[in-house]
Symmetry: C2
Subunit: 638 residues, 2 copies
């Protein structure tokens, strides 16, 4: 837990005492409200104190045991949620702190929203109650062995058979096997399956269908359905708790009314007809999913930064004199210049997440009023933020691991698992480069329309002021395809500008809050982090600023110097700034990131848990080591 026992020493006490702001108030700023702090705290403690939710030996479990452990945790979590009558908000937090990917994530995160978004009223009334009570478990089966990014290229077919009023779902090729869906391999009873709808001999492209996969009696795959897990993934523990699956259909029949029919239907006769619901309504779900991905980025990043900051304050290496007292590595300017921008990024992403939540509400209202004018801009904005924050977070977690030196390479540091479980966020829900290309296309289109009198809106409004963009022709004239690497860089720059704006917005937001909340020094710290973030981006992309003449070389040099000064202001507050995330030791899962800083005994104890330490003389000694040492290898059969 995040509290130090009275009998124990807080090795970070001096750091905490040096902080120049009120940590409790910063917790409120980070969580969003006092209420949010309170329930996060309560849920985190609930999980941390329950032995079923232990995860300290997770990376040592075999795949089978890990999966079984996931099933157990999911069932137990659900039991607690029901027993304690938790609200949806509380239940979500409980699942967050259980911190183990599993079928539940896809059930709530993709299956239910797909039915809500794409199902008719009737379909929702039939299927949602079953899903809400877990009478069925659902997953989201879109990707195939041969097609991921290009959804329109999916090969699975759903052929309407007017004789029986059924769709026949079929996998015509090996590459049409569904491949990747989480929860599909072992747990799900149902899936929303995306397939090419074919009726009256015509291919109408990709549509969603609710398909039962397994018997509700004994969980065996239904006739014509082949199911399996697609095998081990990056890291130990990590995403291996999830049964990403493979699925093949051999002419599996489902009733016609299991096609998700909110936007279009197939009639009893086999006619394909559009409903009067505009397809733009589906964007709402996408914005929702992407805003939660950005929120997750700030969570993953802040966990890694919390571990690296605390350990850097404990770790001492070298000193002014040999033999004299050693320096905390957090005092080294190189360590600061690698770590503090990541701390600033964690806060920046946190506030952007808030803004995206607002954007989701805004877009939902607009969609309901059939106002689609901002859709394109919102799409650019959410796709771009997803790409930029997930890439930055993945790189940052790995950098935090390196900042912990050798010990960061141990599973007991928690960082290897944090990295490997997080990094697929760069790939799922849209490969980041593919997303940035979409952003770039919208940017180019916006630029090319500048002279047409159609002013850019929302987050792109600034382009309207940039007169010199009017003369910009290069990318448009030499062809988008040829210049795509450059336009992707432009897309990243656009998104970073957005991040900066939002980050500033975050600080202003706090400023407003301060009218009611007394938070000594909170605003100053956030302002400082915001400046760090801005100058760090400037430093990192200096070339772009210089090449476009936005700043002079001299200004660039001044900015770098100023950055160093800002780091010095962050330094005394660094530990308190990560304390404000309010993470329990259970959630962090790191010997290096412990709240009390008692790192070395923790590392030492963790080591002995390894199964290899069950015996002093290792298995295999008699077969493979002794004959070698005794020069008797030639005689032995290996």
């Amino acid at each position: 837990m995040a509290m130090v026992d009275a009998t124990e020493v807080d090795h970070l006490a001096a750091e905490r005492a040096a902080a120049q702001f009120d940590v409790e108030e910063m917790k409120v700023a980070w969580a969003g409200s006092r209420h949010a702090v309170e329930i996060a705290d309560r849920m985190a403690r609930l999980v941390a104190s329950d032995p079923v939710f232990r995860k300290d030996t997770r990376t040592m479990l075999s795949r089978k045991d890990l999966f079984k452990d996931t099933l157990r945790k999911a069932a137990h979590a659900w039991k607690r949620i029901v027993e304690l009558r938790l609200t949806e908000e509380e239940a979500n937090l409980l699942r967050l702190y259980v911190d183990q990917p599993g079928y539940v994530d896809l059930h709530w995160g993709m299956f239910v929203p797909a039915i809500k978004g794409q199902g008719t009223e009737e379909q929702q009334q039939k299927w949602l109650p079953l899903a809400y009570k877990f009478q069925i478990i659902g997953c989201y089966a879109q990707t195939e062995l041969g097609h991921g990014s290009n959804v329109q290229g999916l090969e699975t077919t759903a052929m309407f058979d007017p004789k029986t009023d059924e769709f026949v779902i079929h996998s015509p090729t090996l590459t049409s096997s569904k491949w990747w869906p989480g929860g599909l391999g072992k747990a799900s009873t149902h899936a929303v399956v995306y397939a090419r709808l074919i009726t009256e001999g015509k291919d109408y492209g990709i549509h969603g269908f609710i398909v039962q996969l397994r018997s509700l009696e004994d969980h065996s795959p239904l006739p014509g359905v082949t199911l399996g897990d697609i095998g081990g993934k990056f890291g130990s523990g990590a995403y291996n708790s999830m049964d990403n699956g493979v699925l093949r259909f051999d002419h599996v029949r489902i009733p016609r009314d299991q096609m998700l029919m909110r936007l279009s239907q197939v009639t009893r006769e086999g006619k394909y007809v559009h409903s009067n619901v505009p397809k733009q309504l589906l964007y709402g779900t996408m914005v929702f999913v992407r805003q939660s991905i950005v929120a997750d980025a700030s969570k993953a990043l802040s966990r890694a930064v919390c571990i690296a900051v605390r350990y850097s304050a404990i770790r001492k290496q070298f000193g002014a004199q040999v033999g004299g007292p050693e320096t905390q590595v957090l005092n080294y300017k190189t360590q600061q210049s690698r770590l503090f921008p990541l701390l600033a990024s964690a806060y920046a992403f946190r506030f952007v997440g808030d803004w995206l939540k607002w954007l989701y509400t805004d877009v939902t209202q607009k969609l309901e009023a059939k106002d689609f004018s901002t859709l394109q801009e919102v799409h650019a904005c959410t796709a771009g933020l997803k790409a930029v924050t997930t890439s930055a977070t993945s790189d940052a977690i790995e950098e935090c691991r390196k900042l912990c030196g050798g010990h960061g390479y141990l599973n007991s540091s928690g960082l290897p698992e944090l990295f490997t479980v997080y990094v697929p966020a760069c790939t799922y829900e849209g490969d980041n480069v593919v997303l940035l290309l979409q952003v770039a296309k919208i940017l180019m289109k916006t630029v090319s329309q500048l002279t047409s009198g159609k002013p850019p809106v929302g987050t792109m409004a600034y382009m309207g002021n940039a007169q010199h963009l009017m003369q910009c022709r290069c990318a448009v004239s030499t062809g988008f395809f040829e210049r795509s690497p450059d336009v992707v860089e432009a897309a990243v720059a656009h998104i970073q500008l957005l991040l900066l704006l939002m980050c500033t917005y975050g600080v202003r937001f706090i400023e407003k809050l301060q009218q009611d909340i007394p938070g000594h020094g909170v605003k100053e710290q956030l302002q400082n982090l915001c400046n760090v973030y801005a100058l760090y981006l400037l430093h990192k992309h200096l070339g772009d600023f210089l090449v476009t003449g936005c700043i002079t070389p001299k200004q660039g040099a001044l900015a770098s110097e100023q950055l160093g000064k800002l780091y010095a202001q962050v330094r005394p507050n660094a530990v308190a700034l990560v304390d404000a995330f309010n993470y329990t030791d259970h959630y962090l899962g790191s010997a290096l990131g412990r709240y009390d800083g008692n790192v070395y005994p923790a590392l030492y104890e963790e080591a002995w848990k390894d199964p290899l330490n069950e015996t002093v003389v290792p298995e295999g000694y008699h077969e493979y080591l002794r004959p070698l040492l005794k020069q008797q290898l030639k005689l032995s059969r290996l």
Copy 2:
């Protein structure tokens, strides 16, 4: 194997046919000579055809089984080496292709060289024959729980006891536990242990000692010795085959003559005396170790690039028209701009490795002649190249993984293991940032001496010509410590200049070779890759070039444009350029990187090997899924 069965289809045949150069001759250029191609080929096939060396289920093994598998492979490899009377060169290649970290690496790579470098003639005669025949297994025990980078801060003590003519080796604190040495946890019988030598009440700092750890009869730890494994590490499979260990001494006594005494000795009476051997001689070993790390970087990087290039030529996604033929993702300019610089880097690092080999010979000769004039420059050069190539390679492997989309996240792609087994190279043999700070210090010193009439030598000679450096004061005057992030950037720039020079050198080297070796198009391809590498660095560090006024914004833009044209020239040759690495499918260990490009059936088959697929209905169904689905959770105890 790298050959396609006559009955099977080569899915990459069209790519191979399009190549504009002679692949067989490129193999010679890559390997270094015809002889090198021949023995690499022979050893690779030897390993690939031997069932003991299979590694296709490695990531699924438990820690214990994986370690046992390592012991088995090591013993079998040694058996084959002895049976076939392999030369040292052949044996090294065999071990390379076995491709599984284990105690053998430290035995040959650190234990033996330490004795060679730091032991007296007499000590070498006693210990080396034992090590050569594996009658003892040795490791290198330097790092402690509390000290890694700062070797002078190690806490283990070696107190001389003149009464018994022994050293007493002791671990006075928890943080003095030896922690990390490979091979220590379970396999080694001996270690070179670094400890503070104390005699006549005085601390003489860190020295090396040969210490027996385990009984040669039953492998149990000797009295006073506590041994164990430090636990699981990043990734599955990967470096977990190694028993990185913890070691504590409780007043363990060793004979005086087990101190490594080439440079200094303790006499029978306990007097500490220096020998007349200059300590600079130890640099030779360090240069040797670092040159092999750079060589390893080009190997790891080329493997990752080989997988990503072949898969990108097979993978198709999207097309000019929906429903029409799809585009190989290798044709996308963004894919090229991410991948081809890495291909170029693999070749660049390969040639730098060669140059470092030459440098090692050169330095050895100079040291023997007691000429220490180039030592500092050589140190900057090897430390810097170690840091820059290992960081670049780690990032590049992870980028190659992302370039493979979702499938790169599967263990069957080979890329997760390649990354996790490689990445500690950024930390061991000197944390990269700590090394770059050393380089930076030497650079600053060189600059400050420019006016003193002491001209810089070797790879730093160019500084002598840079008149404006004479006026450079900033870093020197504002203090090294404060500006260390900037000077680290300068160090990276210096090393990259070196890499470029060496890369050019590599091309010239081939040019010379071509007088005897007819290699159609080989030189042109290397020249092109060299240009890609140069312009890629320019693009990446554009800010530095612009801020210093080295190039104008317009030149920068031209360079970026030119880079795009160079990629177009690489494209038709990409697959052949990775074929030239001549890696077997066994060594690559990747369903995505197969020589024949038959990716999808391979991925599909690998999936079914996962233990989770042993049963269709997963273990845990009856306890945790059925009660959930049947709404009977409340009754069950989880």
